[in-house]
C-alpha cells in the first residue's frame, strides 16, 4: 500500500532521517519505534506531506533549509511532491503528536470541521462511529475540546482523523503525555479502530511496551536510521529492544 525508498531528510546540515526504507501492507498495523529525536515525527510528516508545507514556510521566511531525498510511493504512484491536503484525498491522514484538536471548538464542531471533504451524511455516520469507539467522548459532545483531558483529546484527535475516512491512518506518538492508565485506554481505542474499520495504521511511538503487542510489523529507528525490523512479537522478544525500551 505504501512504500518508502531511501528517504533522507536534512534540516540545514543535520540529518534527521538517514536512508530509510519501509513497506506498509494494506490492513496491517505497522509500528515505528524510536526514542526522542529518532526521526519519527519527521518520517510521519514526510509520509503525510506536512513537511512540504513546512519547507515552503521556512523558505519564505528565510528560515531553516529542509532537504528531502528519496521516494514515497502510494499504491504505485510517486507522491513525494504531493501537498498534504491532496494526500488526504488519497486517504492518507495524519494524526499529529500532542492531541491535535481545535481547542476553542466543541467536540461536535471538531468532528464537523474534520469532515471538510465529506458529505453531511458521511460526517454524521462517522461521528456516531466515533462515539461508539470512544464512549468517553459521548458526554462531552458540547464541551470545548480545550477543556478535555489529554487522553480524551487524543481520542477526539483519532476520531477526527476517522471522520476523514482514511485508508492509511498515521498516528504520531498517540501516547505522548498520557498517564499509564490513559495510555492503556488509548491503545484499546486504537485496537477497536482496527477491528471496526479495518483501516491500515502506522504508529510512531517511543512507548514500545503497550504498542508492540498490536503490531503486525515494526521498525525500530535510532538517529534517523533503521536498526531493527520484525513482527511485534519478535521485537518484544529482542534483547536490544528489551534493554532499550523495557529497562530489562
Amino acid at each position: 500500500m505504501l512504500e518508502v525508498k531511501g528517504l533522507m531528510v536534512f534540516y540545514e546540515n543535520a540529518l534527521a532521517v538517514n536512508d530509510l526504507s519501509l513497506k506498509v501492507q494494506a490492513g496491517q498495523v505497522v509500528g515505528v519505534i524510536g526514542s526522542n529525536s529518532a526521526g519519527k515525527t519527521t518520517l510521519m510528516n514526510t509520509l503525510s506531506g506536512l513537511i512540504l508545507d513546512q519547507r515552503i514556510k521556512e523558505l519564505r521566511k528565510g528560515g531553516e533549509r529542509i532537504t528531502i531525498m528519496g521516494k514515497v510511493i502510494h499504491e504505485g504512484q510517486d507522491i513525494s511532491d504531493m501537498p498534504a491536503y491532496e494526500r488526504v484525498r488519497l486517504g492518507i491522514v495524519l494524526c499529529r503528536e500532542r492531541h491535535p484538536v481545535f481547542p476553542d471548538s466543541t467536540v461536535l464542531e471538531n468532528l464537523a470541521i474534520a469532515g471538510h471533504l465529506r458529505s453531511k451524511v458521511e460526517v454524521a455516520q462517522t461521528t456516531e462511529l466515533c462515539f461508539d469507539l470512544f464512549p468517553n467522548l459521548t458526554r462531552w459532545r458540547r464541551r470545548k475540546a480545550g477543556f478535555l483531558s489529554g487522553g480524551e483529546q487524543q481520542m477526539l484527535a483519532i476520531g477526527m482523523a476517522l471522520v476523514v475516512r482514511p485508508r492509511l491512518l498515521l498516528l504520531d506518538e498517540p501516547l505522548l503525555g498520557l498517564s499509564p492508565a490513559m495510555q492503556e485506554k488509548v491503545v484499546e481505542a486504537i485496537r477497536s479502530v482496527r477491528e471496526k474499520t479495518g483501516v491500515t495504521i502506522v504508529i510512531a511511538e517511543q512507548f514500545a511496551r503497550p504498542i508492540l503487542p498490536m503490531l503486525d510489523f515494526g521498525y525500530v529507528i535510532e538517529n534517523g536510521m533503521l536498526t531493527l525490523t520484525g513482527s511485534g512479537r519478535d521485537l518484544m522478544e529482542n534483547p536490544e529492544v528489551k534493554s532499550a525500551y523495557f529497562g530489562l
Binding site: 503525510s48 506536512l50 508545507d53 514556510k57 519564505r60 521566511k61 528565510g62 501537498p83 498534504a84 491536503y85 488526504v88 484525498r89 491522514v93 495524519l94 494524526c95 499529529r96 491535535p100 484538536v101 481545535f102 481547542p103 476553542d104 471548538s105 464542531e109 464537523a112 470541521i113 474534520a114 471538510h116 471533504l117 477526527m160 482523523a161 476523514v164
Partner: protein
C-alpha cells in the same frame, strides 16, 4: 442631549464594528494584518461611484459589483504580494501598507478629490428613537451591522468554508492534515474580509464624501478596535467597538469632533501599556503572531 449622545454613540459603535469585522476576520484566519484595509474600503466607495456615475449602472448592480471587485483585488493582493512574505511580520506590514498607500495616493493623483464624490443614501426616511431623530442611512448602518455580524456568526459555524476559517484560525497544521487547502482558504478569508470592508463603505460613505484621507482614518479605527478587543477575537471586536464608539461620541459631544481620532490612538496606547494582548486576546497568541 444625553439621549442623543447615547443613540449616536450606539450608531458610531456599529460603524466601528462594521469596519473592524473584516480586518479582524482576515487577521484571525490568515494571520496577516492587512494594512491595505483602508485603501480597499475607499476603493469600494470609488468603484461604486464610478459604476453609478460614469457607467450609469443601477445601484443594485454597482454596489455588489464594487464589493465583488474589491474582494477579488484583496485576494490577488494576498496571493501575489503577501503570500511571498507570509510569516515575516514586518515585511507583511510594509507590503500591505505600501500597497494601500499606493492605491490611496493613486486616487488622489487621478483627481478623485472633491464634494461630488458621494454615494446615494439607502433609506430615504427619518425616525424618532427615544425622542431623537435618526436618518434612514444611520438606520441602514444599524441593520447592515447587525446583519453582517449575525451572518459572520452563522457562516463560520454552518458552512464548509466557514468551518475551515475556524480551523485555520486555531491550528493551521491540523487543518492541513484534515485535507483543508489552507492557503486557498486564507486567500478566501482575505477576500471575505475585504468584502466586509466594501459593504461597510457602501453604507457608511453616504454620510459624507468619498475622501482619500478617510482610508487612513478607517485603518486607524479598525486597528484600534482590534488591538483593544484582542487581535483575532470576534467577541473582543464587538466589545471594543462599543467602548471606543461611545468614547468617541462623548468626546465629540463634550469636547470637539477633531478629538475623535485621538480617542482611537489613545485607546491603542493605553491597551498596549496595560494589557498588550487586548481585552479578549491571549498573550501567547499575540507573541506567536506578532
Amino acid at each position: 442631549m444625553l439621549q442623543g449622545t447615547i443613540i449616536y454613540g450606539f450608531i458610531n459603535s456599529v460603524m466601528l464594528l462594521l469596519v473592524a469585522l473584516g480586518f479582524n476576520l482576515t487577521f484571525g484566519i490568515s494571520g496577516v494584518a492587512n494594512f491595505a484595509f483602508g485603501a480597499l474600503y475607499i476603493t469600494a466607495g470609488f468603484l461604486a461611484w464610478i459604476g453609478l456615475n460614469t457607467l450609469g449602472l443601477p445601484y443594485w448592480l454597482a454596489g455588489p459589483a464594487a464589493v465583488f471587485i474589491t474582494a477579488v483585488l484583496a485576494g490577488l493582493l494576498y496571493r501575489f504580494v503577501v503570500l511571498r512574505v507570509r510569516g515575516l511580520v514586518v515585511s507583511e506590514v510594509i507590503a500591505t501598507f505600501g500597497v494601500g498607500l499606493a492605491i490611496l495616493e493613486l486616487f488622489r493623483f487621478l483627481g478623485f478629490i472633491g464634494f461630488e464624490y458621494t454615494l446615494p443614501e439607502m433609506l430615504d426616511l427619518e425616525v424618532s428613537l427615544a425622542g431623537v431623530i435618526v436618518d434612514g442611512q444611520r438606520l441602514a448602518i444599524l441593520l447592515v451591522g447587525a446583519g453582517l455580524t449575525l451572518f459572520l456568526w452563522w457562516f463560520t459555524r454552518h458552512t464548509r468554508t466557514g468551518r475551515a476559517f475556524r480551523a485555520i484560525a486555531q491550528d493551521e497544521h491540523t487543518a492541513l492534515t484534515l485535507g483543508i487547502n489552507t492557503e486557498r482558504v486564507a486567500t478566501v478569508s482575505v477576500a471575505f474580509g475585504a468584502a466586509y470592508a466594501a459593504v461597510a463603505a457602501l453604507v457608511i460613505l453616504p454620510l459624507g464624501t468619498i475622501a482619500v484621507n478617510e482610508g487612513y482614518h478607517v485603518l486607524v479605527n479598525a486597528l484600534a478596535v482590534c488591538i483593544v478587543g484582542g487581535l483575532g477575537s470576534t467577541l473582543g471586536v464587538v466589545v471594543a467597538s462599543f467602548m471606543i464608539g461611545f468614547a468617541q461620541t462623548f468626546t465629540a459631544t463634550y469636547l470637539d469632533t477633531s478629538w475623535m481620532m485621538v480617542v482611537s490612538l489613545l485607546a491603542i496606547l493605553v491597551i498596549l501599556l496595560a494589557r498588550p494582548s487586548g481585552l479578549f486576546g491571549s498573550q501567547k497568541q499575540l507573541e506567536e503572531r506578532i
